[in-house]
Amino acid sequence: MTEIQSILLRLWDSFGLNIRLFGLTLVCALPLGLGIAFLSMSRVKVIAWCSKTLVWVIRGTPLMLQVLIIFFAPGLLNLGAPWGSGASARFAAATVAFIINYACYFSEIFRGGILGVPIGQQEAGEVLGMTRAQIFYRVTLLQVIKRILPAMSNEVITLVKDTSLARIISIKEIIMMAQEYTAKGLIWPLFSTGLFFLAFVGLLTLLFNYLERKLDYIKV
């Protein structure tokens, strides 16, 4: 194996961390975001207000700071060390920060999508004697998904690239790994990471195009 190959292999290994962070964030932030969206639309003013404020603060500050705060704040404020200190602890903290951040972004997308479904669809369900849950899952949800797919696709692609922010708490993702080579005087690995991102984003784009085509039959 040449040196180039072995470096690319190590980069690919560390890209696994980016992908895992991406996957975990996606899987958890989507349902959490839906929950926050519902809270934001709650008829109870206080709940809606709290939820909207949370979203506003999270969307208003850099994700990098949020990662720092989530990981360091407990220790700095002498609240003990909920995360521990090893690599897996760091990964857990980063994942939590990412999930909260992206759940807030997703919640706004969901909210827009839900409000965009014509009230007539809801009423048609009511008149046919469906329960609220049935109306949401059987009537509204798929139309919401169809509506928000373009916005989601943007946000998900941003998430891929954001995963490398996790290096701020020493998660050895691909860019941090590449910088290790930079420190040794090898510069190309850092720039080559762009190709990894590009390839992954390309795959996601194909996936989203496929989903959009799949839902094309729903004319909303």
Binding site: P118, E123, E126, V127, M130, T131
Partner: protein
């Protein structure tokens, strides 16, 4: 005993009094046409019957049983509202078909969900058979696998009618079922409604098609500003309207262009 009795229904939106004491009754198998100018409260009346709006005052009785009383309204649970809704079916002006389902599934969905919620094994085949019967009746049996967007407006509206009928409502309500349709497509839908009338389906139809109302309705209500100004058999209201307002309203149509 009338199948539907509405007693002194009142409904305001903020300061805007939209229904101002509506009372009428309807016999089993009869067809009631509700006419009146824009904003007179016709849609709101239908929405109250279907529990989409909650009247501020008044009762609604079906088969002599009170299914709605404004006094008890605050205690009405979601569940009991749903139960009471089954007395009525509603066909919307804008169809409101579910875009993600085929024509057949649009018709069976609610029935299947209802069957699942009840004791015993749901008879899905039976439900589909019934839905196909309805589609045949609507002249759409060849379209069962189509999606709504693949149908013309008139066809969509007929699916909406089948969807409402699938739940076997005692009273079927229509809110201007043809006003979102091109003149050419209107005919198909009116034909279907006419057939339902001949089969003695109890119906309440809000419509702007005067000729059609005259043809098909046994009974006509003329509403203005939330009140019933004139009420009577179709012949009576159209040929010898008693009130000046009604005469004026009807003259606009007979003098119309088509």
């Amino acid at each position: 005993m009338p199948i539907l009795e509405v007693r002194d229904l009142h409904k305001s939106f903020g300061r805007n009094k939209v229904l101002d004491g509506i009372s009428f009754s309807l016999d089993q198998g009869a067809t009631l046409a509700v006419i009146g100018s824009s904003g007179s409260g016709k849609t709101t009346l239908l929405r109250c019957l279907n529990f989409l709006e909650q009247p501020d005052h008044g009762n609604i009785l079906v088969n002599g049983q009170t299914i709605f009383d404004a006094k008890d309204a605050p205690m009405l649970t979601e569940h009991s509202k749903r139960q009471k809704r089954f007395h009525f079916g509603l066909v919307f002006q804008s169809f409101n078909l579910f875009p993600q389902y085929t024509v057949l599934k649009n018709i069976t969905l609610a029935v299947e969900l209802l069957a699942k919620g009840q004791a015993g094994k749901p008879d899905f085949t039976g439900i589909e058979t019934q839905a196909r019967d309805l589609l045949t009746q609507m002249g759409l049996i060849d379209k069962e696998a189509f999606y709504p967007y693949q149908l013309s407006g008139g066809q969509q509206q007929r699916v909406a009618i089948a969807r409402a009928l699938a739940l076997k409502p005692e009273i079927l309500c229509f809110d201007e079922p043809t006003s979102a349709l091109d003149p050419e497509l209107t005919g198909e839908v009116l034909k279907v409604v006419r057939e339902l009338a001949q089969k003695k389906t109890t119906m309440v139809i809000v419509t702007h098609e005067m000729a059609f109302a005259r043809d098909v309705a046994d009974h006509v209500l003329y509403m203005d500003e939330g009140r019933i100004i004139e009420e009577g058999s179709s012949e009576q209201v159209f040929s010898q309207p008693a009130h000046e307002r009604t005469k004026q309203f009807l003259s606009r149509f007979s003098g119309g262009s088509a």
